[in-house]
């Protein structure tokens, strides 16, 4: 390539690059204008919200205290429906009973429930989530439930997880007994967040669930489902009658065993399960032995005192402390064993036994 030709190419390349960079900068400047306009309107909206929110919240407090004046809400419902809705939802966790009904009634009177129903049918997932979160709260109130119809039930199959969760919570709060089984089935699906969110709401139906769906899920044999069911049972911390805990105390899956031992601390256990608990005090897994010691102590199984004393003699300090605590929970035989062991030559045994005995006597 000759020098003039190279010069021409270089110049051409430079002009093209400058044009390209210039075009990008112009395009970005145009976008910047859009962004600036949006930022301005967003700030203006926030400022307007900040201006009226204290008045709305004060009016809501008065309304919930028994007042009948809803003129403030009617004044702003056309211009600031979102602020009113947010103010109402702010109180959802702080009020209950008739006050909650009044709050839901206000939302219905102001047309917010109808608006939430419409938004719940939209394709925009953000709006749908907000709508169902609001409906889940409002549907505690029967007239709101009638307006929503089957919307919450339909949303149980929504593609978005948060919409599904809101719908589940709405159905549970509305006391939909017929759907409890369906919701429990959702809770034992692999998604941990769904399980966590639903477990607390399902707690009040624990006994009803334990009689049917829980038993079915435990018998099903599908390890992840069994694990999920046991997790829920452990989280409920309720003395639910479980027929066959032994199977899970000796399960091949360690996670299931761990959950079963934690469950054994507060559920009623039958003879077979008690035997399994005592056997587990000799388990090869130190973690399982530790859990078994705790469970035996909580169940106050005096027949296991010799095994607990053995654990106190041969385990490491932490397990020995658990064994000593378990013995301390079973006076007078347990205390007798502790007195004997506190004089042991084994320093760990003597320390753990002495500590537990002193604590138990101080508490007694």
């Amino acid at each position: 390539m000759t020098w003039p030709a190279a010069s021409l190419v270089a110049r051409g390349a430079l002009y093209s690059a400058v044009a390209l960079v210039g075009a990008y900068i112009l395009f970005l400047l145009a976008l910047l204008l859009v962004v600036l306009f949006r930022a301005g309107s967003l700030r203006a909206r926030r400022a307007a919200s900040a201006g009226i929110r204290p008045a709305l919240e004060a009016a809501l407090v008065e309304f919930l205290a028994g007042g009948t004046d809803d003129s403030v809400f009617r004044r702003y419902i056309r211009t600031h429906p979102a602020d009113i809705a947010e103010s109402i939802l702010l109180f959802q966790t702080t009020v209950g009973g008739s006050a909650r009904d009044r709050l839901c009634g206000l939302a219905l009177d102001l047309g917010l429930v109808h608006q939430w129903c419409e938004e719940g049918r939209r394709r925009d997932v953000i709006r749908r989530r907000a709508a169902f979160a609001s409906l889940a709260f409002a549907c505690v109130y029967e007239p709101c439930r009638r307006v929503a119809g089957d919307l919450l039930l339909d949303a149980l199959n929504d593609g978005d997880e948060e919409v599904r969760l809101s719908a589940c919570q709405g159905v549970l709060l509305a006391g939909g007994e017929d759907q409890i089984e369906q919701l429990f089935a959702l809770a034992i699906q692999p998604n941990l967040l769904t399980r966590i969110a639903l477990t607390e709401d399902l707690r009040r139906h624990a006994l009803a669930l334990a009689a049917g769906p829980v038993r079915e899920a435990l018998r099903n044999g599908d390890t992840p489902r069994v694990r999920a069911t046991l997790e829920i049972l452990v989280a409920w911390e309720r003395a639910i009658p479980l027929e066959e805990l032994r199977e899970f105390l000796e399960h091949r899956d360690r996670d299931i065993r761990v959950l079963a031992f934690r469950l054994a601390s507060f559920v009623t256990v039958n003879y077979e399960s008690r035997l399994a608990l005592v056997r587990s005090l000799h388990d090869a897994d130190a973690g399982i032995r530790g859990l078994a010691i705790i469970a035996v102590g909580r169940q106050k199984m005096t027949e296991a005192i010799p095994e607990l004393a053995l654990c106190l003699r041969r385990e490491g300090l932490e397990e020995a402390r658990h064994a000593a605590a378990a013995l301390a929970a079973m006076p007078p035989q347990g205390w007798g064993a502790l007195e004997e062991l506190s004089g042991s030559r084994n320093l760990v045994t003597a320390l753990a036994a002495g500590e537990a005995l002193a604590r138990a006597r101080a508490e007694a």
Binding site: A6, R11, A13, L36, A39, I126, R129, I196, E200, V348
Partner: protein
């Protein structure tokens, strides 16, 4: 002379093409980051904080912290870590070979008393000298160990941790007390696949030109190295980030060999090697940030620190993982070098008349010009993806800062980046990945003893 001119011109042309490719890759990463940010912000609307706080099903988190000393700053940071809001969590404070005075200071500050405790020996570390618990109602476990370096101390923390998830906090991070609740959520959504979560957001810009340039740097970092890398499942922690990592995953890669960046590189490498579908999630929420640079000194220190961290991590990569992070290596290691070389050659060639002025000008357009585009794009794309709530005037000023940033600061920054990348000290090699009987510390430490 003509031959020299041809050679010089050819070299400049090659460098210009390389710079254009880097600029295109940078812009592509920003776009990718913008879409990913938008997607991830739309993916969740609620944090379920109150539900997660109360639920016993949520896995517990052991936050591990290795303080460099017992200074008031370190103790204040530990206090802040003790104030975290979470259902089941503990702080494992690992003291890496503290002196008697230093240990006493920790004991007095947190009313520690020695407790006999067996620390599992999952990862090889230097010997544990003792464990301490506080008599105050705080969930603190202090592990006093023989000196072995930060990685060794982190591994001791993993061994001592009682919960299945490990929490890590960058030393410079400013974090909110609820960050554990926010970070655990992506993990719960996909527990089997998600092995780690990293959360960070840009800090509010500091006033002044240095502050605005620092803010633009942060936006580029957040969009490209956080959001875009997350979309490509190559996320690495950035300065100021808070992280959660599954303890089993840490153990499966043999523990820490240096800091969090190296751990994440190992997790990526292990995920690719065993064909698993491990995922490291990114939480683009204001849970944690590094304080904004307010002065030129802050800016220089932050740039060099970050560059050294990246360089140290990239240098130790094997061939497989190295290929995966070739882009990062090129942008952080090669680009500043090539760009500086291009400036020097173009300037020298233009002055001596060996390079056509148009070609020399082309270097400026493909570096500084493209840089202005990228910086402006970072500001605009961030606002499109996740509005910051800044005032319009401040936003416009930030966007226009792209011009002085690329006409002066950029060229100096290149020198800082080169110094940071090639001036990084060698990281002591750790005896990791296998159980050792004598519980020896890091190899370098053993040599010193």
């Amino acid at each position: 002379m003509a031959e020299l001119s041809v050679v010089l011109s050819f070299m400049v042309v090659v460098l210009v093409i390389a710079l254009a490719a880097f600029a295109a890759a940078g812009f592509d990463a920003l776009l990718k980051g913008c879409f990913e940010l938008r997607r991830s912000l739309r993916a969740t609307s609620y944090d379920f904080g109150s539900v997660l706080l109360k639920s016993p099903i949520v896995p517990g988190v052991s936050v591990i912290f290795v303080p460099p000393d017992a200074s008031p700053e370190s103790r204040a940071l530990v206090r802040r870590l003790l104030d975290l809001h979470f259902g089941r969590h503990e702080l494992v404070l690992v003291l890496d070979g503290p002196g008697q005075v230093e240990l006493e200071r920790w004991v007095q500050e947190f009313h520690l008393s020695r407790q006999e405790r067996v620390v599992p020996e999952g990862l090889p570390t230097a010997a544990i000298r003792g464990c301490y618990l506080s008599s105050d109602p705080i969930r603190l476990l202090v592990v006093d160990k023989q000196p072995g370096g930060v990685a060794d101390a982190l591994n001791a923390g993993v061994n001592a941790a009682q919960y299945p998830v490990i929490g890590l906090v960058d030393r410079e991070a400013e974090f909110i007390p609820e960050f554990l609740l926010r970070l655990i959520r992506p993990m719960l959504g996909d527990w089997d696949r998600t092995v780690a979560v990293c959360g960070v957001a840009p800090p509010p810009p500091a006033p002044g030109l240095a502050g605005r340039i620092g803010a633009i740097e942060w936006l580029r970092l957040w969009l490209a190295r956080c959001a875009a890398f997350s979309a490509w499942n190559k996320l690495l922690p950035v300065p100021g980030a808070c992280m959660l990592v599954k303890r089993d995953a840490v153990r499966s890669v043999g523990g820490f060999r240096a800091g969090a960046t190296e751990l994440f590189l190992d997790l990526h490498a292990a995920g690719s090697a065993n064909g698993s579908r491990w995922r490291i999630a990114f939480l683009a929420a204001p849970v944690s940030f590094r304080p904004a640079a307010a002065t030129w000194d802050d800016l220089r220190r932050q740039v060099i620190d970050d560059q050294q961290q990246v360089a140290a991590a990239l240098r130790q990569l094997g061939p497989g993982a190295g290929r995966e992070f070739l882009g990062l290596f090129s942008i952080r290691g090669l680009r500043p070098l090539l760009e500086t070389a291009a400036y020097v050659l173009a300037a020298a060639g233009w002055i001596t008349g060996l390079v056509h002025p148009a070609l020399a000008a082309l270097v400026l357009v493909t570096s500084a010009g493209a840089g202005i585009v990228i910086s402006m794009a970072a500001v605009v794309l961030r606002e499109l993806a996740a509005p910051s709530g800044m005032a319009p005037a401040a936003l416009a000023a930030l966007c226009l800062t792209a011009i002085p940033e690329n006409l002066g600061y950029r060229q100096i920054r290149n020198l800082w980046l080169i110094a940071g990348f090639f001036g990084v000290p060698a990281v002591p090699k750790q005896n990791r990945g296998r159980a050792v009987e004598d519980r020896a510390p890091a190899m370098e430490t053993r040599k010193k003893q």
